[in-house]
Symmetry: C2
Subunit: 240 residues, 2 copies
DNA sequence: AAGTGGTCTAGACCACGGC
DNA sequence: CCGTGGTCTAGACCACTTG
């Protein structure tokens, strides 16, 4: 086990069980280095990670303190910013299925070319899926993906999870996502498949998703009925 | 100037002007240490920061590479996740004013007590504001703040920017925010002040905002007309 | 002035990827 | 196997906060 991870875990434990109380400062870095039989640099590495997790914060000249919302933040360690794929988002206590409304391979339009950074003659999948959770319509997805980046998608993949296929079968790692969230009136598909009435609002998530190396592989728009989809975002204040 | 910041800036520059091409690997850490007349640890610190910025990524045994979406990501350095306060969000090219609809000090209800972590006898501001941008209604805000954390709010503050007051006058630093985004039908206030029709959707942002030390200081709900408010989120894929 | 965190050095060994 | 990034040490000096 890595030393700085051990230190992280120990400090996390002490915060959770109240040994380091909220608002109180932790022992200073020299003391910690002694306790864990290591050097200050290693202690600092552990602390840096905990700062990024929003559990603690440091003030030069003063000390390192437990944040008042430490427990609040840790509650959302999982479950926030986890919009990546419906399947992962909802977890395993739900029955998730898909109805494929459209599945084609074609040339991209100008917008898709731009967003997915495609060259001439590159093809895209053009997918429309209704996502069904516990036998109720949950979301309607318009998805475009480059065929050369994500090869081999077929109906059996679409019925399960595209993200599972990318991770496990293609062994590619998913990276950042850029999203635009908005509200809108329901379109024809929403009314037909999501069973929206004409005055039922729809929550829209427009997103470009990238692989670890920064190559965009998904450009999609997801529609949620207004009473079903909510999006949670936790923005850490550590962005300098 | 700090050495690792110098290195960061230099690498950032080289990525931007194409000296380090997308997908290519950077010189290895030993070479960089030599070039910048420093040690590997310092080079690593600079690289770590650039990784957090989503400009590059490292692979043990292989090298450090420029991400394909490096420019994409850097485009959103500012402007994304910057929802913190309408004033900051929109920048200076707009005329922003407020109409105060309600301003009271009262005891909190159970929900507010919970979210703002209040004790008995703690008071809250209860604020309703219409935010107006370039002479058009832009958002309707329901805001609750603890009086003891943010003392001294009055109408003159409300007409400008609460966040400006907290930063500059109270000299407190704003930290993380937890948000829930959803869509809904317009309520009475939306129809009256935002000029929504009965079938115009509304975009809702429910948020708790914390100070740097983790103390919650704002619990609010903001309503945007569906054709005005859009929320952008950039989720970095570096969360281990 | 004393104590804190932030930066930096000059080494060392290890883990992993690709040839 | 070699070259890469990841971790770690034992020091040092500096910047800042607080009494």
């Amino acid at each position: 086990m890595l030393k700085y991870v051990e230190i992280e875990n120990e400090i996390r434990k002490r915060i959770k069980n109240g040994y380091y109380a909220i608002g109180e400062h932790l022992p200073d870095q020299n003391q910690m280095a002694k306790e864990f039989k290591t050097t200050r640099v290693t202690v600092q590495k552990a602390l840096k990670n905990l700062i990024n997790e929003d559990l603690i914060y440091s003030q030069r000249g003063s000390g390192t303190y437990v944040k008042a919302n430490a427990k609040y933040a840790s509650k959302f360690d999982f479950g926030v910013d986890q919009y990546v794929g419906t399947t992962q988002f909802l977890g395993r206590n739900h029955k998730i299925t898909s109805k494929i409304i459209k599945f084609k391979i074609r040339y991209p339009n100008a917008d898709e070319k731009e967003r997915l950074n495609l060259k001439k003659n590159d093809l895209v999948y053009d997918i429309k899926r209704l996502r069904i959770v516990d036998d109720e319509p949950y979301a309607f997805e318009y998805t475009k993906m480059p065929v050369n980046i994500i090869p081999g998608i077929d109906e059996s993949v679409l019925k399960k999870s595209i993200y599972g296929y990318i991770n496990q079968t293609l062994n590619k790692k998913i990276g950042a996502a850029y999203r635009i969230i908005s509200a809108n009136k329901p379109n024809q598909d929403d009314q037909k498949y999501l069973e929206c009435k004409k005055d039922d609002p729809v929550l829209l998530v427009n997103q470009v998703v990238f692989l670890k190396d920064g190559i965009p592989f998904e450009y999609s728009e997801t529609h949620h009925p207004y009473n079903k989809g909510k999006i949670t975002v936790y923005v850490s204040g550590n962005n300098r």
